[in-house]
């Protein structure tokens, strides 16, 4: 029998670090699986019908792991041995949607989700993201995610009146919030001057405008409505999801148009019954791999008027809307886990477990995740707790 809705019952994150050089990816995965088992008391299925975990959804990337079919290598650490496992090779926020689809379709009523990414393993993450492009045209031009993000930044900043100073504000605030987030990577506070004097990396993006190299892992337990009570008294319901893909060749698209995110948000909001995002969300987590993306994605998900990113920052929009209490991706999440880490923060906030950075009375939040450069694939997730009153 299929469930009508699904909830995230537990989340665990391995503190994000510049280089978790002392662990294999397998141990990084088990480090997050173990606390999920402890928090919920869930067991792995030993025989059919015993109620244990039988389906696992993982998130990883072959190039970053330098291993063909990267999920095969971690089967022992995620409990997939003798069970079912599927891999999502995109931002892990899409794995939540995949897990929920498994539950709503009746395929299974309990899913363990495990994502890992170790950016430090490669000599340069830019060499890995360069491989995302085609070999004849875009690779030889030297494109990687950061160079393409910089092109989008220039286009977007001109369109929305966002300046170097605005970007500095975003970074300063990210670090301030990250200081209160025990799993964040970049937790040292910085000043406006430090950001504005940080070296130009990919004009107009400075070094401090770009998320730092990060390693980490995240696990979640997701259950169908009927089983949620077995694992938690504080379920976080997945009430909406949508995604939308932009062109692969950057020359084909208007980099500042934001249409994939707008469309993904529209789909997610229709599913979640959200009509006025600027009012109905208590907080948001936006996948800002570079500082300009915070206001740009805020426009895309409807927290800020189209083309008004600069004014929105000046008017205290980030604070009023409680955007990125975790510090955001700018505080350091590996590329495959950007959106998944945003979703993890939503869960922690909605469970009231966020400690010093808790958004008071949080009932409903929105997160986005991006796959590819310049937000090529945008995914939007709406999560809420029982206080949201549905």
């Amino acid at each position: 029998m299929s469930a009508k809705r699904a909830a995230i019952c537990a989340v665990a994150q391995l503190p994000f670090e510049k280089a978790i050089w002392h662990k294999r990816i397998q141990e990084m995965c088990f480090d997050v699986v173990e606390p999920v088992l402890e928090q919920t008391g869930v067991k792995f299925c030993k025989k059919p019908g015993d109620g244990g975990i039988r389906s696992i959804v993982t998130v990883s990337d072959d190039v970053f792991d330098a291993r063909t079919i990267s999920n095969n290598a971690i089967q022992d650490a995620v409990g997939a041995h003798n069970r079912g496992e599927d891999k999502v090779a995109m931002d892990g926020i899409n794995a939540i949607a995949y897990a929920v689809s498994c539950i709503l379709s009746g395929h299974d009523d309990l899913i363990l989700l495990v994502g890992h990414c170790k950016e430090s393993q490669a000599e340069s993450r830019n060499m890995c993201t360069n491989l995302a492009f085609d070999p004849f045209y875009l690779r030889p031009l030297g494109l990687d995610f950061e160079t393409l993000n910089a092109l989008q930044a220039r286009d977007y900043m001109a369109k929305s009146g966002v300046t170097d100073e605005h970007l500095a504000k975003v970074v300063v605030r990210s670090r301030r919030n990250a200081a209160k987030n025990p799993v964040a990577n970049a937790r040292d506070e910085v000043t406006m001057e430090e950001v504005m004097n940080s070296p130009m990396a990919y004009d107009p993006l400075r070094e401090l405008h770009i998320y730092p190299q990060s390693d980490g892992a995240i696990a979640m337990l997701i259950a169908g409505e009927d089983r949620v009570k077995e694992f938690t008294g504080k379920p976080v319901w997945v009430s909406g999801f949508g995604n939308c893909m932009d062109s692969y060749f950057p020359g084909d698209k208007d980099l500042a148009s934001n249409f994939p995110l707008k469309k993904a948000a529209k789909l997610a909001y229709r599913m979640a019954g959200v009509t006025d995002p600027a009012k109905e969300f208590d907080f948001a987590e936006l996948n800002d791999a570079a500082a300009y993306q915070l206001p740009m994605w805020a426009e895309g998900v409807g927290l800020c008027a189209d083309g008004a990113g600069g004014e929105w920052i000046d008017g205290g929009g980030m604070e009023k809307m409680n955007v990125n209490p975790s510090g955001g991706m700018l505080a350091g999440n590996p590329i495959m886990l950007g959106g998944l880490a945003r979703a993890a923060e939503l869960v922690i906030q909605l469970r009231g477990d966020a400690g010093e950075r808790q958004v008071a009375g949080a009932r409903r939040g929105v997160a986005n995740g991006t796959t590819g450069a310049a937000g090529q694939l945008q995914s939007v997730l709406v999560l809420e707790n029982d206080r949201a009153g549905r």
């Binding site: 662990k23 294999r24 397998q26 141990e27 088990f30 022992d76 430090s120 393993q121 890995c128 004849f136």
Partner: protein
């Protein structure tokens, strides 16, 4: 001589005796006849006897007596020899035929190391042969000059490019009264043309000498478009771009694999043991997959053990780090080390000059490298316990 896959039938037979492995031919006494048809083909006869091999090219069709005979067209034969075509598939499709004692043909890969085609570079002659098509009349205008190339060493020779009336012709030999003469070794000339050697550096070091009219000499590079090696371009469309994808990686061993490798340095083989099911894993890993729990107890196993399965590899994958194909045949064994049971096995290589003698159930022991660095090949291979 007709070339296939960058080499010839003749080359393969010419080098065959030097590739003979007496250890792979113990007690063998056979005559193998080869009938290779098509361009570049011919008839050869191989005699293996008393631990020696003799390969001879026959002038006529008379093979005399033979133990086994192999027939193929030249392309198929070369393709199989260099590993570009699958021998078994060629047999099945009938492109490679055998008669007589077929088991002899199956043993040939054991008797000879694999043929490696010579790595071919671009020669000076290859480059000069393209001079006429690379000539740019628009840059030459009404120049009326003769340019000599005096290239010494292997692949060298003497050529003259005659440029007149907006046309370029290439002649062998040096004309009298050359406007400019280029003097260099053939290999330096090739490097110059491929952009591997800087012309100013070459002139400064005396490796490229220009004689005659210096004003004309300075114009020369502009008179020809750049030489592009043939593999870089192959026709106007449906181009195949050859690239190596390469990102340097830093793989962490973690605690378990790290301790295993350190153990090898100390001539110890370490396994880990699951606290729940008691199962051992070689090499040790953090998690017992069956119980999904941490398994951090180490136990020393082996070093001797028993072969449970053997595999001989005749067609090796290239080593991704070097691009070289390792020497075949080689043997891999699944080994049940002392102290382990069931599927608690370890894999490693078998001593290559004893490959014929290994069988399931044999007791084997590791042969340790003299200098051990904490690496899988601190065990060179396993050999029989005698």
């Amino acid at each position: 001589m007709a070339e296939y896959f960058g080499t010839t039938v003749e080359d393969i037979f010419r080098t065959q005796d030097s590739r003979f492995r007496p250890e792979g031919a113990e007690g063998v006494d056979v005559v193998v006849a080869y009938n290779i048809s098509g361009a570049g083909g011919g008839r050869w006869k191989l005699t293996v006897k008393d631990g020696a091999s003799k390969t001879e090219k026959l002038k006529d069709d008379d093979f005399g007596g033979f133990t086994a005979k192999m027939s193929a067209d030249a392309e198929t034969f070369v393709g199989v020899a260099v590993g570009q075509l699958d021998g078994a598939a060629m047999f099945t499709s009938g492109k490679l035929k055998g008669e007589g004692d077929m088991s002899v043909l199956m043993k040939l890969p054991m008797m000879f190391t694999k043929y490696m085609p010579p790595k071919k570079g671009i020669t000076a002659a290859d480059i000069l042969a393209t001079a006429v098509e690379r000539f740019r009349p628009d840059m030459a205008g009404d120049l009326d000059i003769t340019v000599g190339y005096k290239l010494s060493g292997e692949g060298g020779g003497e050529w003259t490019a005659v440029i007149k009336d907006g046309k370029c012709a290439l002649e062998e030999g040096l004309r009298d009264g050359l406007t400019v003469t280029n003097i260099a070794s053939a290999s330096d000339y090739v490097d110059l043309m491929l952009g591997k050697l800087d012309p100013l550096v070459a002139i400064g070091a005396g490796r490229l000498q220009l004689k005659g009219d210096m004003e004309t000499a300075q114009k020369l590079p502009k008179l020809f478009s750049k030489f592009i090696p043939p593999e870089a371009s192959s026709g106007p469309e449906l181009i195949v771009l050859k690239k190596t994808i390469s990102v340097d990686m830093k793989y962490s061993t973690g605690r378990m694999m790290g301790k295993f490798l350190k153990g090898l340095k100390e001539k110890k083989i370490l396994a880990n043991k699951c606290p729940e099911c008691g199962r051992r894993q070689v090499p040790p890993r953090e998690i017992c997959a069956a119980c999904v729990c941490r398994a951090e107890e180490f136990v020393e196993v082996g070093p001797e053990g028993v072969i449970t399965m053997i595999e001989y590899v005749y067609y090796a994958s290239p080593d991704p780090l070097t691009g070289e194909t390792r020497e075949t045949p080689y043997g891999v064994a699944i080994i049940l080390l002392d102290g382990c049971e069931g599927n608690e096995t370890m894999w490693h290589l078998l001593k290559s000059d004893e490959l014929d003698s290994f069988k399931r159930g044999d007791r084997i022991r590791p042969v340790w490298a003299e200098e051990r660095t904490g690496n899988l090949f601190d065990i060179k291979y396993f050999e029989k316990v005698r």
